[in-house]
Symmetry: C2
Subunit: 316 residues, 2 copies
């Protein structure tokens, strides 16, 4: 049985899946990353995931693909990672050496978005932008069917300045897109509004949810027409619209894929407003043929992207 | 004598040059475009430039490259042009048919910037961004050594929103980079300042220059330490810095080339402030290896870019 392994190495867990040559998932394994216990332990956890997946009858492993947070070089070296203890670490060399199969590594957001793109089925579309709106905002750029990283850091679209006199961002800068439209940004806006005494059903929902702000509660409040919730949603879409208009003016892609927790929960409501806002700022005629897609793979995006990455390098 | 022709088809004039196989200019021809007289007349003017350049002893013409303002498709068709009467016009097909040599056409800014990049001599650098600050602000993106246009319109970086609550731009939008840092934007800022009664030597210079605002006068005032001139220059650099930081965060290129009339006159003073401003907004570590270059070719950028474009397609 010819197969590939796709890995999604995260700060808290490692997801792995075995794919047949048609991209169907044959088996899944999940392990804790154990990041706090250092390089060697994390590496052991990765081996465990791979080893368990390889316990498959008549397996002929053709290659392993993986995504990992941080700055990845040459599709194999983790230069640094924000939440995994790898630094200038040649993960590719080590895995290749141990398992003797081709290995390809990419940045986790890039890899996930590569998976989302491949899964749209629009194979003729080869210039694609993807925007991941979660706790932070990241992005992936696909040019001519390949992940584009420039010198390694390309796609940091969450730190595009959308309001130079704006609020402070976690990165230390001012008015970044992420400061407004990420989960973190949304939470801050809601907390600040409630503190200021805005009347909103969100206050009740947050208390019911046990003092957390759930996307589903924001959606419910928005769909009920709660004035403050509408304002929050419009703010999120306004800044995403500006960011996306900049990206279209700069890159004029064929397709934009929106994913991440915020888009998964609120995308159906947000997307029409985002498109309306972006349209105000995009150069005349440039938005007409840009396709917008909401992501579909959710937590599987990383493993699926890793599969597509390795299988596009290793042909059967 | 093996040679190429490079053309720069502008709204008012057509520049052409004959290049030998080493990229040296053997001859130049300049004609009026006569845009107001319609498609056929402009085409005749292009023929005249080519024909005069071909009057060279023992010429073996290997190909013709050209740049033209507007939206260019498939390296041959002018879909539309803001100031040349070509619309869905297969210039490539016509030229190829008449002269029976390979022909390549690109957007004028893209082609000029391709020339600037090739002329830097940094041949190992293949992901390059170029920013043209003139009457408007345009840009060119080179990825993997090739001009990137996306669906055709990529590089409209002058219409990136750098201040969503900002002043109106000629494109109808608000707070575009072009509204602040182009020659048009600078002129507006100076006129508004003087009208408001700002004390500045610029007022005297403008009167001396015959009621025009020259870049050289702005430079003189800035270098003399004129308070308002310093403010104007810092404003220009501030918004260019924001725009460039966005571009680095998005594309992480190896090199950024700054050209156009404003950079040619004021670049030596502006560039250090632009870099300082951009540095405030770029993600940590991403700016270190980005090379900044001022353009060098001035009015020759178009013909030189056209030469590089056609000679990279047609190998001797």
């Amino acid at each position: 049985m010819k197969a590939y392994i796709g890995l999604d190495i995260g700060g808290t867990k490692i997801l792995g899946a075995l794919f047949n040559e048609y991209g169907e998932i044959l088996n899944r394994v999940k392990k804790k990353t154990k990041s706090s216990r250092g390089t060697e332990v994390v590496l052991e956890q990765i081996y465990k995931v791979i080893d368990e997946l390889m316990e498959y009858e008549n397996l002929e492993l053709l290659g392993i693909g993986a995504g990992c947070p941080g700055f990845i070089k040459d599709y194999k070296v983790v230069v640094f990672s924000p939440n995994i203890p790898f630094k200038d670490f040649d993960l590719g060399g080590i895995i290749k050496n141990k398992y003797n199969v081709p290995f390809v590594l990419g940045n986790d957001v890039n890899v996930a978005m590569f998976g989302e793109w491949k899964s749209t089925g629009f194979t003729s579309v080869s210039d694609v932008l993807s925007i991941f709106v979660g706790t932070g905002i990241g992005g992936g750029i696909i040019i001519d069917g390949k992940i584009y990283v420039g010198q390694g850091g390309a796609g940091e679209i969450g730190h595009m300045i959308v309001n130079p006199n704006g609020i402070i961002c976690g990165c230390g800068s001012h008015g970044c897109l992420e400061a407004y439209s990420s989960k973190t940004g949304i939470r801050k806006t809601i907390v600040a509004g409630i503190r200021k005494g805005r009347k909103t059903v969100l206050k009740k929902y947050i208390e019911e949810d046990g003092d957390v702000i759930k996307s589903s509660s924001l959606r419910k409040a928005y769909e009920e027409g709660d004035e403050f919730a509408v304002e929050v949603m419009e703010g999120v879409a306004y800044y995403l619209g500006i960011g996306i208009s900049n990206l279209i003016n700069i890159l004029h892609p064929e397709m934009i894929i929106l994913g991440g927790g915020v888009m998964e929960s609120l995308g159906d409501d947000l997307l029409p407003i985002i498109i309306k806002e972006a349209n105000k700022y995009v150069m005349h005629g440039m938005m007409e043929n840009v396709k917008f897609q909401l992501s579909k793979l959710s937590d599987d995006a990383g493993i699926v992207g890793s599969y597509y990455l390795i299988s596009s390098v290793v042909d059967i």
